[in-house]
Symmetry: D2
Subunit: 284 residues, 4 copies
């Protein structure tokens, strides 16, 4: 993978933003590999992701940030510049289910994700074997029904210790406390086993079976304090019919869950996801 700097920003829309940024890069001899823009007419916001060939600049990312700051200030940007050669640090949280977890592990083997899996945290021991087989540290942190705060304090300590910048809930099945959601805003990715906003809450496949839908789905989204209400990154569906039991839906749903989680996570790790209110912009 080419060494690049990813400049992501949003700012009030006006004429000449792209050219302003393009000129800035050109004047430093920089070469743009990729650029995506989105202008949101409702909010009047402009979103941009510009990828610069790192080797085309004769200074480092710190200096790039310093040089970019005046433009960012002038245009009133929210912005960040990310070094593509620094893989994100991911903590994966799992429960007893293996399908999303082993799917992620296999994709790591194929280097589909630009990240390191720092550790796997689970409230059960079931996934220790496969996690350690792949060489990932495993922490079993039970969540006591009557005192969840103790368990999540330990989870938070681990995430902090690993300096994780992304937390993946790979069918974790526990509700993350609001404080943790806020601390890691737009950094916690969940896979919900329904086509949101249908069937929010518990047992969505039972709800889907009950309602007699002809398609089931899965939704990858950022976790917010509002359960199953966070910004949606990716969704997928799978056809079902009257002959499918709830167990069939659960089985068929696994395929969608793991695929949708992988797509959403990949977009996040490539810094292709930007958040606008409760929606996302996902640049291809």
């Amino acid at each position: 993978m080419k060494h690049t700097y990813r400049i992501l920003f949003d700012c009030p829309d006006r004429v000449g933003i792209v050219t302003r940024v393009g000129d800035f890069i050109a004047q430093h001899g920089g070469s743009i590999c990729d650029a995506h823009h989105h202008s949101d007419s409702d909010s009047g916001c402009f979103f941009s992701r510009v990828v610069v060939n790192a080797d085309s600049l004769d200074f480092d990312i710190q200096e790039l940030r310093l040089k970019f700051k005046p433009i960012a200030d002038e245009l009133d940007m929210n912005w960040r510049i990310i070094d593509s050669s620094v893989p994100k640090k991911v903590v994966v949280m799992a429960s007893k289910g293996s399908h999303c977890l082993t799917d992620l592990f296999d994709r790591m083997r194929y280097q589909e994700f630009n990240c390191e899996i720092a550790a796997v945290i689970s409230n059960h021991e079931d996934m220790r074997g496969i996690s350690e087989f792949y060489g990932y540290p495993y922490h079993c942190v039970p969540i006591d029904k009557n005192n969840k705060s103790k368990g999540f304090a330990e989870v938070e300590r681990l995430v902090d210790d690993y300096q994780a910048d992304t937390i993946v809930l790979a069918r974790y099945m526990q509700i993350v406390p609001p404080a943790l959601c806020e601390k890691y805003q737009h950094q916690i990715i969940n896979i919900h086993h329904s086509f949101l906003p249908s069937f929010i809450g518990a047992k969505p496949y039972h709800q889907a079976h009950q309602r007699g839908v002809k398609l089931i789905g899965a939704t990858c989204h950022y976790v917010t304090e509002q359960l199953d209400e966070g910004p949606i990154i990716e969704q997928g569906v799978q056809r079902v019919n009257h002959s499918n039991s709830v167990e069939d839906l659960v089985r068929l749903g696994r395929d969608v869950e793991k695929t949708v989680l992988a797509k959403g996570l990949r977009a996040h790790l490539d810094d292709r996801v930007m958040v606008l209110g409760n929606s996302t912009i996902v640049f291809d």
Copy 2:
């Protein structure tokens, strides 16, 4: 199309139902062309659709019904026997939108549907030209916001006069009164412009845009007194992204709406849909 009798029934599940019915047909020299069964474990109900070659029997459908009745009584069936050579009579209800209507008309030209379109009823004049071009009688029945009952009384009179057995709401945009829903139970087919149960009610594409979903959908269902809550016959989805405006969703949605309505209607007209509570069994 081969001339057949379609025997549809549901009854409490027990051993030997299929054989009992098969023997009955065989003993009269009948030949089965097609047979589908479904056993619903939750309700303990058995559903069946058995298609008999009409020419293989040396009596008519009235006598078939008489001969079948003792078995039906014995097995405690809800049942009906339908002559495939008698096309259903359909009244299509439309508003100003043309996409579902012209799609249905073109499919009629290809003989995709085993039905006659008896008439088109609309609360606007817009679709008169195209309906009459295809040779279908057109009735404009305005629905007065402040006195809907008058309009719907006229609609009901027309439907009755045409002896329609199926009413298709091809983006009709008006809420059908409960009494009419009840009178034509499981005979009124609607296309709802969302992936139900998401975005029930008005302006679902606006709701979808607001929520930032990555797929939009459409749902073909039987109309019941509960708005958008009736048994689902067919659903479809279409991928969208952040760059799509509400107008784009409306445009992309039209493709799903017309396709899903056509699939659902075709299943209904072929008597392949059976209703179980608020769900459907759709035999392929």
Copy 3:
């Protein structure tokens, strides 16, 4: 729709192309509404579509072209600048089948396409009624099996007379002669009823049935002298199974054909399609 100028070009890839073009527009006070780029590593070609708000420039398209020419020459571009307010002129060619034709007509009603349908040409009379209902001139030009050149000379004369810039083969079923293909290079759009390159040539649904595939498809492509070998613009598929007869495939295929043709045509009319050898770049 906003009044814009669409600048499309391809040129040898090098550093600074986007900025060079961006600066050019900025220096004339122009505002960029939309921009897409693609760098093809195999060929070393750079492709770009830049959309400028026409009202942001204080000169017209002729002058824009004059001013742009030096940059285009310098960067060795193939280029064109298109005025979005000038709808393309389309001649639609049809045979006896109605599904693609009526689908296009209905989409015209919804203003999905930025074009005028100048005329419909067919080798049969069947589609005259519906075409004239929608107000489109209709020309029946029979194609004599033993002297196709006479018919196609007439077709060419009509297309020329209408000053058409796009020819849509909406299931036209006749092979367009090489000279006409060449004259209207990348302006003739065909819908082929298979998932190319599978089942090239005649009766693809029969071939698909014979081979026992589990999905059928349709392909929208530019017509070249090589039958069914031109650059692909859009493709779609539809699930089928063992119970489907050839007639079922034909029926199910119609839905894919009309949808895929509409998508491909829309991309063409919006000047979102660029050709690279035998492939296309389709900007979303």
Copy 4:
């Protein structure tokens, strides 16, 4: 899973086959759980899969076969009766790629397949670790380019020793010799990384990229002596675009490959696949 006997047969089509079989089962007190039929009009063949509750019969499968034989002879059937409680014995063959293999392993953990994996055979060592982690015996049998027969003799010996009845080529990448194909007719399942019959042979993703298709696919089929020409069990596709490199197609293709292989294999293991010439009937 309920203990059942699966009666599969095909025979020349005639009136009364289903009833004849139904009566036979009923007369022995048997209860039918599931039944699917297909009448192929081209060949005049009738295909059937009838599932009988094993506990409803007071004799074992051997006696069932004995009792069924006279009917089978009378109706000129190809037939087999399978005990659902006897899982099939599967040998999985792999190369260096892990995605199909680990996907199968995870599905085994969820008991999605009614089978035992007897062993994994590969021409490389790469997959030994993960196979043994899951507890499956692993055999590395190198295939010498210049003397393939030696390697395949060893493969055949192993398959025979394990008494495997199903061989899964999970991206095995070697061409199985004709004699082995014939010996295990309709028992060797391959996943081909294209939407057959497109891109037969080597490097299909390169071919797809070269041709500029907008969808890529994968095909699960029975292996025959004709490379990539065997009866198709299942297919799937994935959307791609001009920005995708060959490497992207390979990555995106992996998702389709593993999903399609799993679906096809599941149908095979449930004895839901019947072969008619070069096509399959796959009962849902």
